[in-house]
Amino acid sequence: MSIAIAPRPAQPPARRLTAAARSAFTTVPPSVLLSFIVVLIVLLWSLFPALFTSYSAVTANPADKFLGPGAQHWLGTDDLGRDEFARVVYGARSSVGTAVVAVAIGLFAGGLIGLLAGFVGGWVDAVLGRLVDTLLAIPGFLLAVVVVTGLGFTTLNAAIATGIASVAIFARLMRAETLKVRHSVFVESSYLQGGSRNYVLFRHVLPNAYRSVVALAVLQLGSAIIVIAALAFLGYGSPPPASDWGLLVAAGQNDATAPWLVYGPAIVIVITVLSINRISRWLRKTS
């Protein structure tokens, strides 16, 4: 008998990369591509804000106060005559950056707890499981408010608070995924092949368990942006003249004559979060 073995010439890496890029463009749905573009723009705002606007986010210019949206000022100007779009662009760093920090804290702390609980099992699992249960029992937003009150009113503390609040969610998913992989046949086979526990954990279990956790991390990024905006809105973030998106919405509602000061940053928040959620859903479907 014979097994058909199709000889496939090895592709040079460069060509493989372009082929991968081409297949990405043909297989990724357009809405996901659009979402990626939105997220990319927001990321660039937070890294190089000066490339996107010539206005300053902090210098007051009273002559131009309360101008409506137009060609000069895309999102209008605020009570001190500052360009609202510039404030949104410069605010991206603390709004999105802190959300990334928050998710990173949740991902690493939660992932580690889940990995240990799932892989070691026994009393370690029991102790970590109760810890996670305790975290889950406290409402996340309340926990964040308490942490910020304790550590001080800055956006970074808001990020730490949000991260701690999401540890439990990551830990639970990671534990479930790890358990699933730990009992698979190829893991047992690796022990038979002479693999140590650490080796099996990092070479077999982690690479097979992390995918859905990463998809969750992207989803959590969206909700972290909302939570941090909400904290900033309530004043649990850096005080003005910082221009966190939540803070912008809060400041905008003081002036009923200039509704664009609320709608501008609010719409930016909504579009960013929707894009991230779309990407996360697509990731979860493909992984």
């Binding site: 008998m1 496939r8 092949q193 002479g194």
Partner: protein, 568 residues
């Protein structure tokens, strides 16, 4: 097209005999020039066949041959991406493909019964069998609830369920696989259909249960005059049970005709190959193919004895009074109960039994994956009873395992080269270049091309994956390889290739095999000695030839009896 020519040459007597038969009775199902495609990939090419009332036809082929697609087309259960490109299906003179969904629905489940492949997934797990059966009975719209219940119970009795009331009240998880399959057959038979389509109805079941289920089909066919369309990969089962066979490969009909004729004298090359690969057909295939193997084995045995080794020194594995009990909830199960056997160096010993016989547990005890409650295991010349984890690690260098299912035993995120190299890396054998060299060497030995080195397991076929698993087990050059049903997830021709490979490697490397299997015909081909297990105990053991020709225990007889009797 070459296949057409082949068909024509095979047409002559076979088709005439077939057609003459069909004329005497009325045609129930007629498929004409059926072509089905998924996207632009055509999976069924121009397939035609006829099935008469009260007759059975088996569609035979390997995975990917299009047999299930044909069955699904007949039942109109094709997934939405599939398209029927050409052809006609006439059931009772109605064109199945032309009927509207509204007109077809009364046929499916009433006139056309279906028995699915996997009985454990086909029923709703949170509802009792009875409530699901009543749902099927309600379709018939006759009588009140009590009458329907009576009808269901009667059907259950008819399909050989001895305690229908208990089955009626049970949930699916409370019944065994064989019982569930009977329930599903019962549900299919309940409305007295004219045709039952059975998709691999016995593939997940033990051999003795398989025999009973097939007997049941034959009985229903006789007593109720139901036509049966079997879908199977097992030529032996088909030849024994069906009136006519249709052999498929890549969606093209290779051969057709009365079962006995196709099986006894296949005319197409593919059918001949299939027939030769059925282990039951020629039990001495590999031994006979290699006359000097027996000689060289005898020679090496004589040599070792000449060198003054005691006869016990020739035993590679010795298991004495091994026992293992599992506790599940408040029930204790004696999985392995006082088992003893010996495996000579360079020979193959088989552990045979059905699910729950303890054969897999015995193999796992031997590998140190479970700790025995009592008894002794001697591997080489050392007892492993008090082995620490470190000692086991050293021992396993010479003691490897090939798993049953190559689809789960390879890490899907790794590439082939790294998978096979893993044992070398873990045991720090040689330098990097030497490891790569040994990986290439062992891949060549198992018949895999080097061009596959950088593929992931998901891009390999089942047979290729099992070859990778064997390569991984052999790369350390072990003395003993435990084979846990290494071919049960594979097609017959692929299985034949793997068995041939195992034989060759044993000859070349002097390996000792412990072969765990439920398939007696395969054991007869591969093993030298055998232990027959039932309920954790050895009911009979000895040389294969002796066990197969003169079984002493009734259970062994039952197992042997379950090997499909081949029409001669």
């Amino acid at each position: 097209m070459a296949t057409e020519n082949k068909l024509k040459t095979g047409d002559g007597p076979a088709i005439n005999g077939f057609a003459a038969h069909a004329q005497t009775t009325s045609t129930l199902l007629r498929v004409d020039g059926l072509t089905v495609a998924y996207g632009d990939q055509t999976v069924v090419h121009d397939v035609s066949f006829e099935l008469a009332r009260g007759q059975s036809l088996a569609l035979i082929g390997e995975s990917g041959s299009g047999k299930t697609t044909i069955a699904r087309t007949v039942l109109r259960l094709l997934p939405p991406e599939a398209r029927v490109k050409a052809g006609q299906i006439k059931f009772n003179r109605q064109d199945v493909l032309e009927l509207g969904e509204r007109q077809f629905r009364p046929l499916r489940g009433r006139e056309l019964g279906f028995v699915p492949q996997d009985p454990s997934n086909a029923l709703n797990a949170v509802r009792t069998i009875g409530s699901q059966a009543l749902e099927a009975a309600a379709l018939l719209a006759e009588g009140d609830a009590a009458a329907r219940r009576e009808r269901v119970l009667e059907t259950f009795r008819q399909v050989g369920l001895t305690d229908p009331d208990r089955v009626y009240a049970s949930y699916p998880h409370q019944l065994s696989g064989g019982m569930l399959q009977r329930v599903l057959i019962g549900l299919a038979v309940l409305p007295r259909p004219a045709l039952i389509v059975a998709d691999e109805p016995t593939s997940g079941l033990d051999v003795t249960i398989q025999k009973r289920i097939l007997d049941l089909f034959a009985e229903l066919k006789e007593s109720l005059g139901i036509g049966v369309l079997f879908i199977t990969h097992d030529l032996a089962v088909a030849a024994e049970r069906a009136d006519a066979l249709l052999v498929l490969k890549d969606g093209v009909v290779q051969e057709r005709g009365p079962a006995a004729q196709v099986f006894a004298a296949p005319t197409s090359e593919y059918a001949r190959e299939l027939q030769a690969d059925v282990p039951a057909v020629n039990p001495d295939r590999y031994r006979a193919a290699d006359p000097d193997q027996a000689q060289s084995q005898a020679k090496s045995r004589a040599k070792s004895q000449a060198q003054g080794e005691a006869p016990s020194g020739a035993s590679q594995i010795e298991v004495r009074s091994l026992s293992k009990t599992f506790t599940v909830g408040d029930r204790t199960v004696r999985a392995v109960d006082d088992i003893s056997f010996t495996v000579r160096r360079g020979s193959t010993h088989a552990l045979v039994g059905e699910s729950g016989s303890g054969k897999t547990t015995a193999a796992r005890l031997l590998l140190g994956l479970e700790r025995p409650d009592a008894g002794e295991i001697i591997i080489g010349d050392q007892s492993v009873r008090a082995h620490s984890r470190g000692q086991w690690r050293i021992l396993r260098r010479h003691l490897q395992l090939v798993y049953q299912n190559p689809f789960t035993s390879l890490d899907p995120t790794w590439r082939l080269e790294r998978i096979v190299r893993e044992p070398l890396d873990r045991y720090r054998v040689g330098g990097k270049a030497e490891r790569v060299e040994r990986v290439k060497e062992v891949l060549a030995a198992v018949g895999l091309s080097e061009s596959l080195l950088h593929r992931r397991p998901t891009h390999l076929s089942g047979g290729q994956r099992q070859r990778v698993a064997i390569a991984r087990a052999l790369v350390l050059r072990p003395d003993v390889v435990v084979l846990d049903e290494p071919t049960s997830a594979l097609d017959v021709t692929v299985q034949a290739g793997i068995i041939e490979l195992l034989f060759r490697l044993q000859r070349e490397l002097g390996l000792t095999y412990l072969f765990v299997s439920h398939d007696l015909s395969l054991v007869r081909q591969l093993a030298d000695t055998v232990s027959v297990l039932q309920g954790g105990r050895v009911v009979e053991d000895g040389p294969v030839q002796e066990i197969f020709t003169r079984p002493r225990h009734p259970y062994t007889e039952a197992l042997l009896d379950a090997i499909p009797a081949l029409p001669r």
